[in-house]
């Protein structure tokens, strides 16, 4: 008896030509890959857009118009990410045999091959990471130790970068494949050397697999998009949220989870407005006695759900005027919350100037419930939900 040699082990590993399905081929890979590339571009751009809302740079004039913009960009981000999952699975399936191509001989060819494999490893790893972490995050499931926001952002650059490298490497193959009918075996795919894709009624064709991938992507979107697209609410049976909640609106974080129950239910609550070191205080009855405005505005969460509601309260600019703040002020809003992130938010002057930016006291005609931010909360047009600070205790004008 002898020990197995490298050759013996190598014989046990399948070769690309061992895979039976005739539906694989460059025509399919290039088409599904193009759709996936477009989806990734949409996800990347809308994702960058979302990060800019959290930390707006000086050069970008983010403001309250258009009212529904963030709702649309973030809804698109999440819907497109979800639709990408069937596409990437079919794309990876279509090239899976290539994983078993044997390394070429010669140091130069070996180096090129190693570099290409490394770039594909980065692409596949970062792509799966982006889709998986995003998918879990919208269900508020965090089985990891990294910071979702910072890591999803950094890896996005790795994903889009390795995608560009992949397109650069494959461009001639992609052009050739897209220029030919999907069923033609005109490529360098070793699986095609032994199989044709001619009409065999018994097995899947490339065209069927491609249409199946697109149908599955469309279904994935349709069955989840109702958390942000109102008319799909009933159809989207797999959406993380059905759009319902107390006072007709879902909740992202409860008062209990934010550690705000005690302070928010204290009947001796007063709101502090600080202008140039001078503090003005108002209790809730005094706030309710001020001129009230009612506006229809959406809560648009970074997790991809959104819903419009009718909000009633005092315009922040009216409050500031009353407290003697100069026009065009930027304000810092502090919450009573004691747990979790986003206990403060900055309202740039552009938002403060808009009379629809409210310190809301009521939601859909009723006093805010504790989980919606009682005694008062910020609601402004075109902002991510986490910046719509709940359980407001203090508004400070920043000079």
């Amino acid at each position: 008896m002898r020990l197995p040699t490298v050759d013996d082990v190598e014989k046990l590993i399948p070769r690309p030509e061992d895979f039976e399905s005739r539906a694989r081929g460059t025509g399919l890979t290039a088409r599904v890959g193009t759709a996936l590339g477009i989806a990734f571009a949409i996800c990347f751009l809308t994702g960058i857009w979302s990060h800019l809302q959290y930390d707006p740079p000086g050069w970008l004039p983010l403001g309250p118009q258009p009212t529904q913009l963030y709702r649309i960009t973030q809804g698109t981000h999440v819907i497109t990410g979800i639709a990408s999952i069937p596409l990437i699975l079919v794309k990876l399936w279509s090239v899976f045999p290539r994983l078993f191509i044997r390394p070429p001989r010669g140091p130069r060819a070996l180096l090129v091959e190693a570099l290409e494999r490394a770039s594909i490893g980065a692409l596949v790893g970062s792509s799966i990471f982006m889709l998986a972490s995003g998918l879990l995050n919208i269900a508020q499931w965090y089985p990891w130790d990294f910071s979702f926001r910072a890591t999803h952002y950094a890896v996005a650059w790795v994903a889009i970068g390795s995608l560009l490298v992949h397109i650069a490497v494959k461009l001639p193959v992609i052009r050739q494949a897209l220029g030919a009918p999907i069923s033609d075996a005109v490529d360098d795919d070793p699986a095609d050397d032994v199989h044709d894709d001619h009409d065999d009624p018994e097995s899947l064709t490339r065209r069927t697999v491609m249409l199946g991938a697109f149908a599955s992507a469309g279904l994935a979107a349709l069955l989840t998009a109702g958390q942000t697209v109102p008319f799909l609410r009933k159809i989207s049976v797999f959406a993380v949220r059905d759009g319902e909640g107390p006072q007709g609106l879902p909740i992202n974080r409860t008062a209990k989870a934010a550690g705000a129950v005690e302070a928010a239910s204290d009947p001796s609550f007063v709101l502090e407005i600080i202008v140039d070191g001078v503090t003005t205080t108002l209790d809730r009855d005094q706030l309710a006695a001020l001129p009230q405005r009612t506006h229809e505005l959406p809560i648009a969460c970074v997790e991809g759900w959104s819903r419009s509601a009718s909000w009633t309260g005092v315009a922040v600019r009216d409050l500031l005027e009353m407290a003697g703040a100069p026009g065009r002020s930027e304000v810092l809003v502090r919450s009573m919350q004691t747990k979790g992130a986003f206990g403060t938010s900055v309202l740039p002057a552009r938002f403060v100037e808009d009379h629809r930016t409210l310190l809301a006291l009521q939601l859909n005609g009723e006093d805010l419930s504790l989980d919606h931010g009682f005694p008062c909360r910020i609601i402004a047009p075109n902002r991510p939900g986490v910046l719509q600070t709940k359980w407001v205790r203090q508004i400070e004008v920043r000079s």
């Binding site: 596949v124 508020q140 990294f146 461009l171 899947l204 989840t224 049976v237 059905d242």
Partner: protein, 142 residues
């Protein structure tokens, strides 16, 4: 085309390195966790999901009568990819116990209905194809 490819390559390498640079301040715990997820996705796909799919295909081709292979293959594609999309809502994980406005739908029931619909549709298409083929092959009744 050379210039386009060179530009794509340069932009891609720059964007990728920028992403790595953004992680420079991550603590080692966070890096290990992120690295586990990055590599874990590849391992899960290449070592589990893809071989499982191939194995299912090999078995299905040998077990299923001819006319059912294509419709069942298509139904499997849709079923498997959608099931992976719905893993978080089906898992019973996620959400918070004090918030009933998230994960508040009967997801498992919907998934069972989806599974049954796909199976029935694929079986119906298979039967239709078979009856069409036998009719075409049968001698003219006249």
């Amino acid at each position: 085309m050379r210039a386009v490819r060179a530009a794509l390559l340069a932009a891609g390498v720059a964007a990728g390195l920028w992403g790595v640079w953004l992680m420079r301040d991550f603590t080692s715990d966070r890096l290990v966790s992120a690295g586990t997820w990055l590599a874990g996705g590849i391992v899960l796909h290449d070592a589990v999901l893809a071989p499982l799919t191939v194995a299912i295909g090999v078995v299905a081709v040998r077990l299923l009568p001819g006319y059912f292979r294509a419709p069942m293959g298509l139904a499997f594609l849709v079923w498997a990819t959608l099931t992976i999309v719905f893993v978080p809502v089906l898992s019973g994980q996620g959400g918070k116990p004090d918030n009933d406005t998230i994960l508040n739908r009967p997801y498992v029931e919907s998934w069972l209905v989806m599974t049954a619909l796909l199976l029935v549709a694929a079986a119906a298409v298979g039967l239709l194809r078979r009856s069409r083929a036998t009719r075409a092959a049968a001698p003219d009744p006249k």
